[in-house]
């Protein structure tokens, strides 16, 4: 491919965000911070917005979404993709839903626009908004405004819609938290509902506590467009930054020329590897990774960042930076990267070193697997693979950095304010007290924002250099190629078993493609689900010239469980044992057959899930149906470590009787704020409406582990209980506070578990039909049984399970980042290309909680956020096998693969 054509891809990559490059608005519109690009044609515009006449002068290229957000400051309308692929920007134009990102502002002249801000009448919520809160429809909330507007148009045309009507009307609105079931329920409920009468965040009913289904305490902000996400933050003098990215999968940069870009009016700062040697420590746990690396090692690797007075100027400047690349050989597949003649991506070789720094695979052994296989009656050997799948949260990653003297404040869309603060301080080499990280609302993450990210650091560096605040927002395409996704794997299995179905040996050799930097573990988990005397797993995390792979919801699990649970399904079928029976017989009883579990609900999940599902009646021999439409059922197990550990909380009581709970959570959409409030209310034995949660700000909140590893409830929730107890002790000693007195309880517990393993468990059951001529898979029934100990909030917990299952189905059937093998360029970076699950794809998921008693964690609560995705991929794959008698061993089970395997 010629340099010119590479540049074309680069431009396509770089193009995108065009927010707020606009004239200061006139009339009722407040001032826009952007500086005018005088050459851009402009038009004065009158439009009715939410019933009020508005005037603005906009550049002709300004989209309606930008008009609303940047000129009229109606930031309830979100931009998730800027390409009409997600629906977050849906507004009504003369009553009809449209994508505001894909409609020019000037085209709305003389028309009427309705946004989420126009739904409520004063304090009174629209019935849809109230229904959304009551049914826990919004999780992260980033898609919610769009869902509301589509639903409003539906109710206007059809006041009493059924579920199918709702799915069709909302089919153009993605929810990556995948809480589709609750959205549909809400709209159905709102059809014919009487207007809600209550409308404040303090609406929460009295006497609610742990175990009671409780609407989110911040529900009103999530349904009214008032929740402030990082992209909604506007600071005086704020610049807009963009990143120039490598169009080559591997190349040495011989020259970067920034003069022409710097000369462009409005450009204030440019950083490249030549003038910025800041490291990004959490971007690679093995090698030194800089913000800008030379050589560049994947298509999308950062080459330069520009800050300018408008996003358009920043974008334009990217095209004026001249970069001379010397292309190097590249390799895209993990196993090929281990070949002796493969291009070397990191100095130590392409096998990423283990934690001890040695270039050796991650290995686990018990018993003697060779002997185990030898002594088996039958040995099953197979290969499975999985693809790179993106987290694809609706909120594009964004950071706003501002310096006041030597103090840095970063508004970061982060899952962990404490981690982000620590990393920023370390990489910028400043004391941690001089860094403040703020994140009030977050539009989903699913693991891709556990730590500090390069764009947080770039924003800080650019802000320092320019002497004014900087916002750096990625495009959707950048989110797909330059943040990270789940690592692709190749898995080789050998399983030995006795004639009567007793496991003797499991061997798994795996290869994980990590991209060129080691940001995640590369693990392939799942064998620990089985009791077995001889086990060996050897996993090779390997550098490749592809997008970086790291944490995505249960990082090590769904791909590995897909492999092992498919193999075990084959074993059961070959031995003519009911797969449920086989699993009940062979499932883990002790962790690694050694450590007792602190609580164990796996068998119970299987039994109760099977009963609710009707497994006995529904399970038939594989390929029982003759016609073109074949029904099948499948199941799979899952487990996930439910850790405990250090976290902090502060609980304050003042004389008004209000309790303020300070916790360093950000609430990625899981409902953590509400969970913390419920735990505090229960621990303090007060009603929920007396609790205020202060979160998402390192200046106001103590250390929290961050919303990764599904640890928030277990770590920080436990700290809340301890802090509440500390406060109670003080109340006992000093009495209730009076006047200006404030009692402050605090705790930093560091609980440990010795001699036992603490795990959450799950068993999933699915019935589907396969149209073997069209390759279409339809999920007919889905039951997810989960042991996550005590459920703190069954309402938000159900949302977590339904969402995780639906994401897993998408991973099973659709999602994969495709590469052009000749150029290493990703071909489908976005929601359209990835075929992310829509309202029309999401099945109804029945959730069943097996509440085991556990001595650890807050009130015995165990992990829940990640487990739901773990068994789902395998359960779908096994049901596909049961329906067709054929097995697809490579993810995703796309149309192409389905029809090829059935041909």
């Amino acid at each position: 491919m010629s340099e010119l054509s590479r540049r074309d891809f680069l431009e396509a990559t770089a193009a995108g965000l065009a927010a707020s490059a606009a004239m200061p608005a006139v009339g009722m519109a407040a001032q826009s911070p952007a500086v005018v690009d005088s050459s851009a044609p402009r038009t004065a515009l009158r439009v009715v917005v939410n019933g009020a006449q508005r005037e603005a002068q906009v550049e002709d290229r300004t989209t309606l979404a930008e008009l609303l957000r940047d000129h009229l400051h109606l930031t309830g309308t979100k931009i998730g993709c800027d390409r009409g692929e997600c629906g977050a920007c849906t507004v009504l134009l003369d009553g009809a839903p449209i994508y505001a990102c894909s409609y020019l502002a000037v085209w709305t002249a003389g028309k009427s626009v309705e946004t989420v801000e126009g739904l409520a009448s004063g304090e009174r919520l629209h019935p849809l908004q109230q229904a959304f809160i009551d049914h826990d429809a919004p999780q992260c909330g980033f898609c919610t405004s769009g869902q509301l507007m589509s639903a409003k148009a539906l109710l206007a045309a059809n006041p009493h819609p059924g579920p199918a009507d709702v799915r069709a009307a909302l089919s153009g609105n993605l929810c990556r938290c995948s809480n589709y079931n609750h959205y549909v329920e809400s709209v159905v409920a709102a059809g014919g509902a009487t207007p809600a009468t209550v409308a404040t965040e303090k609406r929460t009913p009295q006497q609610k506590s742990v175990g009671t289904p409780t609407p989110r305490i911040d529900g009103v902000s999530r349904v009214s467009g008032t929740a402030t996400y990082v992209g909604d933050v506007r600071l005086p003098g704020m610049l807009f930054a963009r990143v120039l990215r490598s169009p080559h999968p591997h190349a040495r940069i011989s020259r970067i020329q920034t003069d022409r870009a710097l000369a462009l009016p409005g450009v204030k700062a440019i950083v490249t590897h030549e003038n910025c040697r800041v490291t990004w420590s959490s971007g690679d746990t093995r090698n030194t990774r800089y913000l800008f690396n030379n050589p560049v090692r994947f298509v999308g690797d950062a080459v330069a960042a520009v800050a300018a007075t408008s996003a358009a100027a920043a974008e334009e400047a990217l095209h004026l930076i001249e970069v001379a690349y010397e292309p190097l050989p590249f390799v895209l597949e993990a196993e090929s990267a281990l070949a002796p003649d493969a291009p070397v991506i990191q100095p130590g070789g392409n096998l990423s070193p283990n934690a001890a720094g040695k270039p050796e695979p991650e290995t686990y052994r018990r018993g003697n697997v060779a002997e185990g296989l030898q002594s088996s009656d039958r040995v099953f050997e197979d290969h499975y693979s999985s693809s790179h799948v993106n987290n694809a949260q609706l909120e594009r990653r964004v950071s706003v950095a501002a310096w006041e003297g030597d103090k840095l404040t970063v508004h970061a869309s982060t899952q962990g304010i404490s981690n982000c603060q620590r990393d920023l301080a370390a990489d910028l080499k400043i004391p941690v007290e001089r860094v403040r990280v703020v994140c009030q609302f977050m539009g989903g993450g699913f693991g891709n924002k556990n730590q500090c990210h390069d764009f947080d650091l770039m924003a800080a560096v650019l802000a320092k250099q320019a002497g004014t605040p900087v916002r750096l927002e990625l495009t959707r395409k950048e989110d797909y190629v330059a943040v990270h996704g789940r690592w692709p794997t190749s898995q080789y299995y050998k399983v030995g078993v006795t004639r009567d179905g007793q496991l003797r040996a499991i061997q798994m050799r795996g290869y994980s493609g990590m991209g060129p930097y080691r940001k995640g573990s590369g693990g392939i988990a799942g064998t620990e689900l089985y009791e077995c005397p001889h086990v060996e797993t050897i996993v090779h995390p390997i550098y490749t010239n592809t997008a970086v792979a790291a944490n995505y919801r249960a990082p090590d699990y769904p791909q590995g469980v897909f492999g092992i649970e498919s193999v075990m399904d084959d074993v059961a079928n070959a031995l003519q044992i009911d797969p449920l029976e086989f699993r009940l017989r062979n499932a883990t009883k002790k962790y690694h057959d050694e450590l007792p579990y602190t609580s164990y609900g796996l068998a119970e999940c299987m039994r109760r899930g099977a009963e609710a599902f009707g497994w006995k009646e529904r399970w038939r021999a594989p390929a029982s149906d003759r016609g073109a439409i074949k029904r099948g059922v499948g199941m799979a197990m899952g487990s996930f470590q439910s850790r405990v550990g250090r976290s902090s909380a502060v609980v304050k009581l003042d004389s008004s009787g209000r309790y303020r709970v300070h916790v360093g959570v950000t609430d990625v959409g899981s409902g953590a704020k509400t969970t913390m409030a419920l735990i505090a209310a229960d621990a303090l034995q007060v009603s929920l409406d007396r609790i205020t949660v202060i979160s998402g700000d390192t200046d106001r909140c103590p250390y929290s582990v961050g919303e990764s590893g599904s640890r928030t409830t277990n770590f920080t929730g436990y700290a809340v209980i301890e802090a509440a107890r500390d406060l109670q002790r003080q109340i006992k000693e000093k009495g209730l506070p009076s006047g200006d007195q404030v009692l402050i309880g605090s705790a930093t517990p560091e609980p440990r578990i010795d001699g036992a393993a603490r795990y959450s468990f799950a068993a999933h059951f699915v019935e589907l039909e396969v149209d073997v001529e069209l390759g279409r898979v339809r999920i007919l029934r889905y039951v997810a049984a989960h042991d996550s100990g005590r459920i703190v909030n069954p309402l938000t917990a159900a949302s977590q399970v339904k969402g995780g299952v639906t994401m897993g189905i998408g991973m099973a059937l659709h999602e994969r980042l495709h590469y052009d093998p000749k150029t290493g360029i990703p071909l489908n970076p976005g929601y359209y290309g990835a075929r992310v699950m829509t309202h029309q794809d999401a099945p109804q998921v029945e959730v069943l909680f097996v509440e085991t008693e556990d001595a650890f964690g807050p009130f015995g609560a165990k992990t829940l956020g990640e487990p739901p995705i773990i068994p789902s991929v395998a359960a779908v794959a096994n049901a596909f096998f049961n329906a067709t008698g054929r097995r697809i061993k490579d993810l995703p089970m796309s149309r192409e693969r389905i029809l090829d395997v059935l041909a």
Partner: protein, 329 residues
């Protein structure tokens, strides 16, 4: 997004004049119907206009009018309005179904019929800026590349698939297109509107730079017509067809007198299958005959390295679509 000027013509003549004038002044001009896909292309810098001629301000071209011998549809009608128009829903059911199947409600509320017909392909090489025929280059990267979603018919040199849902329906209905241009109007049969890559790999249709698809004319529907549009997606909504079939059957006393089978999503143009249709004509429709016609419809398929699955899929789609029409009678 690069800066451009939006201009609002009041008439089609004015729009055409604006195009011609821009070109004379050395400016790149593009026309915009609904604009949603066009804005995406502009944001990706695949299209870089100086002037955007917004057709939404032209009056009168957003409606359906019915006369004795034909029905006229303004090219600017939105897909949503077209899909629910009573003058279309019954007599031209295949078109209504096609319009209602496009994208999402949001896309149908802005997307126009003419825009849908003239839509650029969704080939991922094209959309990612590879220098292919469609991007002004001299190569098709899908050939020998990642071609899971590409054409199974045709001999290149470009292997894009035509993405429109309404185009196969219009070809099946023997529609003709009124094209406005600097030299006045011209009318082209729908089947002649689309350009095979062998004739010109850079373009998808016969529109010249200063021309605009203004109006679609449908001949009146005879009594006893059965028609339908079916498509197969690889998720349940919001993507383009892996394969689609527009079928029109004119029946008389249980005998098929005239048949049209036009495929979408499988070739660089909406692909008429006259040989398959001919098998049906003069016959009483049966499941067996439907299967034979379906076989004939894919007989000359030439899949690429990774899209052979689309052949049986298309065959099954055609067979089932025909069978459904048999049952409807």
């Amino acid at each position: 997004m690069k800066a451009f000027a939006n201009v609002n013509p009041r008439t089609m003549d004015e729009a055409v004049a604006m195009l011609a004038r821009s070109r004379r002044e050395g400016k790149r001009a593009v026309v915009s119907g609904g604009g949603s896909d066009l804005l995406g292309l502009i944001k990706e810098r695949l299209v870089q206009p100086d002037v955007l001629v917004n057709l939404k301000t032209i009056g009168g071209l957003d409606r359906v009018t019915s006369e004795r011998s034909h029905t006229r549809i303004g090219g600017l009608i939105t897909l949503a309005a077209l899909g629910r128009d009573p003058l279309i829903a019954k007599p031209f059911r295949v078109l209504a179904e096609a319009a209602n199947s496009v994208g999402t409600p949001q896309i149908r509320n802005t997307g126009t019929l003419a825009g849908n017909v003239c839509q650029r392909p969704w080939c991922w090489y094209l959309r990612n800026g590879f220098p292919c025929y469609k991007n002004g280059g001299d190569k098709c990267f899908a050939r020998g590349g990642e071609n899971q979603f590409h054409a199974i018919f045709g001999t290149g040199p470009s292997y894009i698939v035509h993405p429109s849902d309404t185009a196969p329906a219009l070809v099946a209905l023997d529609a003709s297109f009124r094209i406005a241009g600097p030299a006045g109007d011209r009318t082209v049969a729908a089947r002649d509107f689309f350009v095979r890559p062998g004739d010109d790999a850079a373009r998808e249709n016969v529109l010249d730079t200063d021309e605009i698809l203004a109006e679609i004319i449908l001949p009146a529907t005879p009594p006893n017509r059965r028609s339908t549009y079916e498509k197969v997606l690889d998720r349940e909504a919001w993507t383009h067809a892996l394969a689609s079939a527009a079928v029109v059957l004119d029946m008389e006393n249980g005998i098929c007198r005239r048949a049209r089978i036009v495929l979408g999503g499988v070739a660089p143009i909406p692909l008429d299958r006259p040989d398959a249709a001919r098998l049906l004509e003069g016959q009483r429709l049966t499941p067996d005959l439907a299967a034979k016609a379906a076989d004939a419809a894919v007989a000359d398929a030439r899949p690429l390295t990774k899209n052979a699955y689309k052949v049986p899929l298309t065959r099954a789609l055609v067979r089932r679509t025909l069978a459904a029409l048999v049952n409807r009678g």
